[in-house]
Amino acid sequence: MGQAVMKDATAGATVVALPGAKTDAKHGVVPLPAATRKPLSQRLLPALRAVLVNVLPPLLTVLLIALFWQIAASGPQSSLPPPTKIWEEAKDLIVEPFYWAGTQDIGLGWRILVSLERVAIGFSLAAIVGVLLGALVGQSIWAMRGLDPVFQVLRTVPPLAWLPLSLAAFRDSQPSAIFVIFITAIWPVIINTAVGIRNIPQDYRNVAQVLRLNHVEFFFKIMVPSAAPYIFTGLRIGVGLSWLAIVAAEMLTGGVGIGFFIWDAWNSSRLSDIIVALIYIGVVGFFLDRLVAFVGTIVTRGTLTN
């Protein structure tokens, strides 16, 4: 019975062929047209467009600034070198960041790496101690009353003002520079962590209480993830400040860092070298900031939305 009906239906139905598709009329099957891939040019075009939209404006701005600079610094009375002169004088620094021709004649890449190493040590210490102290201040009302005023005063002390003290205490330039980084970066980490912890919803605390989480479990399972967006705001500000401080600290402590390079260049009147170094510092600082922000977005994924 059922079969008969089916036959009828097949006989009566008109088979519509899709354009471009071969129709197997005997079985009444219409094969779907094979998925055609768009030509490469069509797929690449939007991507290319997006890149251009983002890259072209800053590129144009830089070119305009360089042009203006070139005109302004070209006169015979000019005290600063124009871009063309910088290219002539400091070409080796720009083209070869990693050359090595003696202990003080090295590429800027190496110098940046040395400075970055100091920042990495000082900033990591600041991040660990800052989060712990911030947790204490955020969690305990008495710790906040006792410590917060002290922090508020100390955080306004400029980084370099710490340097003489730390030189006296450590009697060595390397730990002193690291200490300056540490003391500069720690305040925003402490303050933001404390705010993040004070903002942990009571609900999460209730869950922790019902589960009888101990202090360590509460710290790692509730506090840190819940306050992570705040912590990363503090870390991002902190890494920016560290990079500001390292250059100044290295100018005074010497060694092979990028800061000392600038000071050294100034003493031997190599203005072109200084300008190249400034650009290096700016670009690296930018990438440091983006790096911390990037890690932050990965770690805090899901924390912000509820």
């Binding site: 919803p201 609900d203 999460y204 209730n206 869950v207 209480q209 019902v210 589960l211 009888r212 989480l213 479990e217 399972k221 509730i222 993830p225 819940s226 992570a228 805090t300 994924r301 899901g302 924390t303 912000l304 939305t305 509820n306």
Partner: protein, 263 residues
């Protein structure tokens, strides 16, 4: 001896020089396996009462005894299903339940047993399919299901439900009420539920505790709901006992203890 005994509990909140008496002389005996609802107008302190049983709010006077032992602190034997689910947004559904299971059974069950227990509880609330989703990716009703699974997974002596379905739409709420009834029938848990929904209270409860308006809220009446279990929502609509119980609660709430402040 009663399973859970609330013995002359008073609660006064102190803020500076002013003190507000929220609960006055609350006494209640709850039998093992009983489903008790606490109903009252908003602000009558019913959530405070639940928090006191949970141990989250300290008592001013009186005591709460579970199996004859006084409880003062929160603990997993009095698991709470919170009004706003309170799932941790950075953990998946599975990990939210796992947090509770690993803490409560960490020393007593092996890793495999704990995994099975987590999945068993997710199955109970029909949420096993969403084990790898984060709370932000599931609906409000599903979040509350996970909240219930987390509560049940602690194998509590008493499960405390704080307006568990309050934030849900009517259809989702009905689904969850059915789930809770089924779970209660299967596991025989002792449950205390705070609600402001009369139908919900009558449908689910063995007893309904009606609170007077605050401040100094007391237990006004306790109503026994003598309805056969398993209860079926549709059959009850025309059931005499159901209608009478519903009427009694409504009369209490809207005749004798009308909420004056609500305009």
């Amino acid at each position: 001896m009663s399973y859970l005994k609330i013995d002359h509990v008073d609660k006064t909140f102190q803020r500076g020089a002013t003190s507000t008496n929220v609960l006055k002389d609350i006494s209640l005996d709850i039998v093992k396996g009983e489903y008790v609802s606490v109903i009252g107008h908003s602000g009558c302190g019913k959530s405070t009462l639940l928090n006191i049983i949970a141990g989250l709010t300290p008592i001013t006077a009186g005591a709460v005894l579970l199996e004859g032992k006084e409880v003062r602190d929160p603990g997993p034997e009095r698991a709470v299903v919170f009004q706003n689910h309170s799932l941790l947004p950075w953990l998946t559904v599975y990990d939210n339940v796992a947090l509770a299971v690993n803490k409560v059974f960490g020393g007593r069950k092996t890793k495999a047993e704990r995994h099975d227990w987590i999945m068993h509880n997710l199955d109970l609330v029909q949420m096993a399919h969403a084990r790898d989703k984060r709370p932000a990716e599931i609906s409000g009703g599903m979040k509350q299901r996970v909240g219930i699974a987390r509560g049940l997974s602690m194998e509590p002596k008493v499960l405390l439900l704080d307006e568990p379905f309050g934030a849900l739409d009517a259809l989702t709420r009905a689904h969850l009420q059915d789930s809770i009834m089924q779970i209660h029938a299967t596991l025989g848990n002792t449950m205390i539920m705070i609600t402001h929904d009369v139908d919900e209270a009558v449908l689910l409860s063995d007893r309904i505790v009606m609170m007077t308006n605050g401040p100094s809220a007391r237990i006004g009446e306790v109503l026994d709901v003598r309805l056969e279990r398993p209860r079926k929502r549709l059959d009850l609509v025309s059931d005499r006992t159901y209608i009478a119980a519903r009427e009694a609660v409504l009369k209490f709430l809207y005749e004798r203890h009308r909420f004056v402040e609500a305009a």
